[in-house]
Amino acid sequence: MGQPAASPAIAALRERIARLEGGPARHRAALPFGVPAIDRALPGGGLALGALHEVAGGRNGAIDGAAAALFAAGIAARTKGKVLWCVTRQDLFAPALAQAGLLPGRVVYVEAGDEASVLACFEEGLRHGGLGAVVAELARLPMTASRRLQLAAETSGAIGIAIRRWRRQTEATDFGQPTAAVSRWRVSALPSRPLPVPGIGRARWQLELIRVRAGESADFEVEACDDKGRLALFSDLADRSPAARDGDIRALG
């Protein structure tokens, strides 16, 4: 976890590694989730700005990418500036994104028609510099393409989110292939907490941080984005102390 270094020697080493990795310091700013447990698991205390992140859905979510889209919308909603959303074919329903805090006036959609054009538009958007976040829905993300995207994001400081979405469940094994993305997430639906009355409560997600550069993987049970795009940590007891919540974090290794 990205906690402060224990000894000055380690701090100095980290400094050197950061210098070797390059990139001006301002690009290492981060967008916190506002949930301390998640932010502690991420180096820099949040989702790195000027970097590429990958999100996929679990189970059927790998095909419909619905939870992943809401998760990405929640992140994009908390950035500043316009958002570019590149898709192959349009099946997003904008009112749902607005309910996750991403207002219709902020999102420009690009319906690119094929994956190669989506990649090109994604890169162009990341390179531009005036956008808060760029989201693209992709089935394949080869190493070379992801490296280009990561470099483009580093030059501009925008957050790039690749929503990985496949036509068939079997193709979802592609998510194990290495890419240059800084972090990799998987969002799957969890059964919501039963309410004392008939009805459905706030949606719950199993949020797996599968990989993060300079950090350890972890998974969280969270409540889905509210109308400002914020997640909330789920706990069985509503009034648990913050210290006890740390127990929810389990390393995957």
């Binding site: 904008a94 006036g105 005036g130 956008l131 639906a189 919501s192 009805g199 459905i200």
Partner: protein, 486 residues
């Protein structure tokens, strides 16, 4: 003609003098249905159809109208010429993707012309000759010749498709030639001896063996800069460098007039008298050298320089006033970064209509609650009412599902979608959506009851029942899945 204009059912012909005979030179659909043909003596036509309306053909007026129409068509592509007496030739190279592809472009062109009363037929082919032939013999009302197939298609057409004078056509028909293919198979020398070199030339042009240059129309008020080269250029870097110089010159010309450009045409004159073109559009008026150069050089790889380019012309075909604007400096608020340049780059690459924003529409029917607006449209800050859950993925067409549910207002106990059965663990609803009876009569009492359901694994779906569960008039009472939450 005002109120005295004849109705569409009245047969009309245009008469004119050819040599010392008075002939029918054009006939409308009603006249053709009555048996009149172009080239028929005027007296015979008047005998055949008693109430025939006839007018004298105004050939110079028609040519002028055709030129005006060619200028109008500049909105579709940069290289256009009139093809008298009744055609236009449009070089669509580098322009069709801006209109959503060839097919969409042709449909748009035909329907816009139909709206102004012009019954047009359009064909796209590799060569002028082939397109000319297909537009007149195959287009109903549009026809697209696949790349490389033009010779095979043209060979099957009647010889009338070859743009030859009447005398040659009738002479060939007398000799028994009917199709272009027959003519191609016959020995060229004897045909040339009898009919002259015109026949061979037209045949080669239609089959794409001989190039056919034409002079594109230009509107006189268009701001244009041009550069001729002593030695033809062909390397992409050289083209890019001179593109930059042309853009700089054009922007200076625009600045003196206080204009910004909305559409740019960069036309390359090749040494073999053919044209290549790049067209770029912008969302707002622009006079920024760097940005315009970027838009044009982005597409240089689509240009085929052939044996070299001798002249490049850059024209601002669509301009708008563009004055200097005062930027208000503010201590507290950072101005929103301008992304119109990104929008221009992307829309020139993939087409303008592929970039959009969604804006709310006041409708309870979910699929009608959104509309697409231009990405640069002003943001009025409206939002959808957020009381009811909406799924992030909406199916384009609701899919029927099998369910078991209690009527009238209970959610299903289970449902099966795409062959997978889901047991409903929790549900919320119904949200009743009424048909828009004030807009559509068929929806007078139509009702949909939407439920949000969650299955045992936590996945959520948006399903609805057509009908209110009691009155069969309100809907079929079948269940549909309309969206996926997570």
């Amino acid at each position: 003609m005002g109120t005295s204009a004849p109705s569409a059912e009245t047969p009309i012909v245009m008469l004119g003098r050819q040599g010392n005979r008075r002939l029918v030179l054009a006939a409308d659909a009603a006249a053709r249905a009555a048996g009149l043909r172009v080239g028929m003596p005027a007296s015979k036509a008047q005998v055949l159809v008693p109430n025939l309306q006839s007018f004298d053909l105004d050939a110079p007026g028609d040519a002028a109208a055709l030129d005006r129409m060619a200028l109008w068509c500049l909105r579709y592509a940069p290289i256009i010429a009139a093809d008298p007496p009744d055609g236009l030739i449009i070089d669509t190279t580098g322009a069709d993707h801006l209109h959503g592809g060839e097919e969409a472009m042709l449909e748009g062109l035909v329907s816009r012309l139909a709206a102004s009363g012009i019954d047009a037929r359009v064909a796209v082919a590799d060569t002028w000759g082939a397109a000319h032939a297909c537009a007149r013999f195959l287009a109903r009302p549009t026809f697209i010749v696949p790349t490389g197939q033009a010779p095979a298609i043209v060979r099957g057409l009647p010889i009338g498709a070859l743009r030859l004078p009447h005398e040659i056509i009738s002479g060939l028909l007398t000799l028994g030639f009917e199709r272009v293919g027959d003519l191609e198979a016959a020995p060229r020398a004897s045909l040339t001896l009898r009919f002259g070199p015109e026949l061979g030339r037209r045949l080669d042009q239609a089959l794409g063996r001989r190039g056919e240059p034409f002079e594109p129309v230009r509107s006189p008020e268009i701001i244009e800069v041009r550069r001729a080269f002593g030695e033809p250029i062909s390397a992409a870097e050289t083209i890019a460098r001179y593109t930059g110089k042309l853009v700089t010159a054009l922007c200076e010309a625009l600045e003196t007039r206080g204009l910004g450009v909305r559409r740019l045409d960069l036309v390359f004159h090749r040494v073999d008298s053919r044209f290549e073109a790049i067209r770029a559009g912008t969302a707002v008026p622009v006079r920024d050298v760097k940005r315009l150069t970027r838009l044009l050089t982005d597409r240089i790889e689509t240009v085929d320089p052939g044996f070299g380019i001798e002249v490049m012309t850059l024209a601002a075909t669509l301009t708008e006033p563009f004055g200097a604007r005062q930027i208000i400096s503010s201590l507290v608020e950072e101005p929103e970064p301008d992304i119109t340049d990104l929008i221009d780059t992307l829309s020139n690459r993939i087409g303008e209509q592929r970039l959009y924003r969604f804006a709310p529409v006041e409708s309870d029917v979910p699929e009608r609650a959104i509309r697409r607006v231009a990405p640069t449209a002003p943001d009025d800050g409206t939002n959808w009412p957020g009381d009811w859950p909406r799924p992030p993925r909406l199916l384009a067409h609701p899919e029927p599902i099998e369910t078991m549910a209690l009527l009238p207002d209970h959610p299903p106990v289970w449902f099966s979608w795409r062959g997978i059965r889901h047991r409903v663990a929790r549900a919320d609803g119904p949200e009743r959506v009424f048909g828009e009876w004030w807009q559509r009569d068929a929806e007078l009492i139509a009702v949909r009851d939407y439920f949000q359901v969650e299955d045992a694994s936590g996945e959520r779906f948006w399903i609805y029942r057509a009908g209110d569960g009691e009155d069969p008039e309100t809907g079929s009472h079948k269940w549909f899945l309309h969206g996926v939450f997570a």
